[in-house]
Amino acid sequence: MKKTFDILWPITAVVTIIAALGAVFLYAPVERTMGLVQKIFYFHLGSAMAAFLAFTVVLVASVVFLANRSPRWDNLAVAAAETGVLFCTLVLITGPLWARPVWGKWWVWDPRLTTTLILWFLYVGYLVIRGSLPGSKGALAGAVFGILAYVDVPIVYFSIRWWRGIHPVVIRKGEVGLDPRMIPPLLISLAAFVLLVGVLIKERSAIGDLEFRIQRLEVFPREDSHE
C-alpha cells in the first residue's frame, strides 16, 4: 500500500505539471498589456505557495520534534527548509523577471516582495545554524529557530505594510485583472506546485532518514532494521 503511494505521488505530480504547462501555454489567454511575460505569474504564485507550504511543514516538524525528539521529524524539517529555500529563491527570481518588462524596474520595496526577501534570509539562516552545530544540538537549534522564524514572518509583513503606509509606494502594484479563462490554469499550476513540493520534501527527507539509519547500523550492526 505504501509502495503504491510512493510511486503514485511522483507520477501524479509529473502528470499535473505537464497538464499545468499545457494549460498555461495553450489554454490560458495571453494578457493584453503584458503579453507573454505575464505567464510568469503562474510559476511565481505556484512557487510562493510551495515555499509557504514547505515552511509550514518546517514549523509543524519543529514543534513535533521538540515534543518527541525523533530524528525523523528533524530530517523532515531540514528537508522542508531546503525545499522551501529553493522555492523562495524561485519566487525572488521570477518576481523581478516579471517586474522588469512590466514596470521597468527589477525590484520594488513593496511589503510582499520585501517580506519574501526577509523570509529567504530567515530560512537561509535556519540552514546556516543547522549546519554550524553538530547532531542533536543542531536539531534543537533548528527547531527553535524554525518556530521563531514562522511566527515572525506575518509580523514582518504587517510591519512593512504599516511602515510603507507612512512612506507611500511610488509604484502602485496594479491589480491584475484575471480573465476567467486564467483561473483553471492557475489552479492546475498551484496543484502541480503543491504536489511537486511534497515530492521533493518527501524524497529529501527519505535521504536524511537513510543517512541516519546507515550511521546507526555502523555502530549497532545487529540492530533490527525496524525501529
Binding site: P134, G135, S136, Q215, E218, V219, F220
Partner: protein, 235 residues
Amino acid sequence: MADAPYLRAEKITKRYGALFALKEVDLILYQGSSLVLLGPNGAGKTTLLSVLAGRIRPSRGKVFLQGKALKGSEDARMQTGYLSHASFLYPGLTARENLLLYAHLYGIRDQGSRVQEMLRLMGLWDRRDDRVGGFSRGMEQRLAIGRSLLHDPKFLILDEPFSGLDYRSCRNLMDILRDLRGEERTMVISTHDLDVAASLGDDVAIIDGGIIRHRGAAEGDLKDLYMTLVGGDLL
C-alpha cells in the same frame, strides 16, 4: 549490600552525529561507595560523568538517583556536586564573589558564613578578594572544589580533578578526597593516573570506546589489566 543502589544508570547511549560516545553503558553505585573511572582520551569518561551529573541528556537510556529519574530533577541537582576540567569560575569575579553567586543559585541559607567556611577550608581565605583570573591552576582548582562542595552534596562527580595540578596541590586534593570518602558520600572520580587510582576508590571501572570493559575492586596491579583491555597501539 542488599539495599537499593544509590545510582542506577541503564543502557546509556550518547550519540553525536555519526559518533557514539557511549554505547549502552550500565552502572550501579551504592551509597557511600566511591568508583574510579579509568580510560584513555576519547573513551567516553567525560561524557559518562556529564550524563550522571545531569549535564547531558543521553540519546537513549535512563539514570536514576535514589530511585528517581534524573531528567529534570531539581532535587538530583541539589544533591550532586560536579567538578570538571573547566572550573565554572568567572575570571572577572573574586573568589568570594564566585562562591557567593553559587551559594545564591543553590539556595544556601546563611551564604556569607558558608562561603567563608569554604574559603578557609580550601586555604583561600587571604585571597578571597582577589580575582580568579589571577589564580594559579592549583588555586583555581581548589576554589572549584569549594564551589562544588558548597551545597554539601551527597553525590560527587569529579572529572579528572588532578589534571594540571602540581605535586603539592595533588597531595592536598587527595587529602580532601580522603576526608570526603570518610563522610559517606558517593563519589565517581575519573583519572588518567593509574598510580593513585587504587587509593582513590573502592571500585574501579575501565572504559574504552564508549563501553565499560571492566568493573571490579580497586586493588592489585591495575596497570597490566588496563593495558590488556585498552591495548597498546598509541601513535
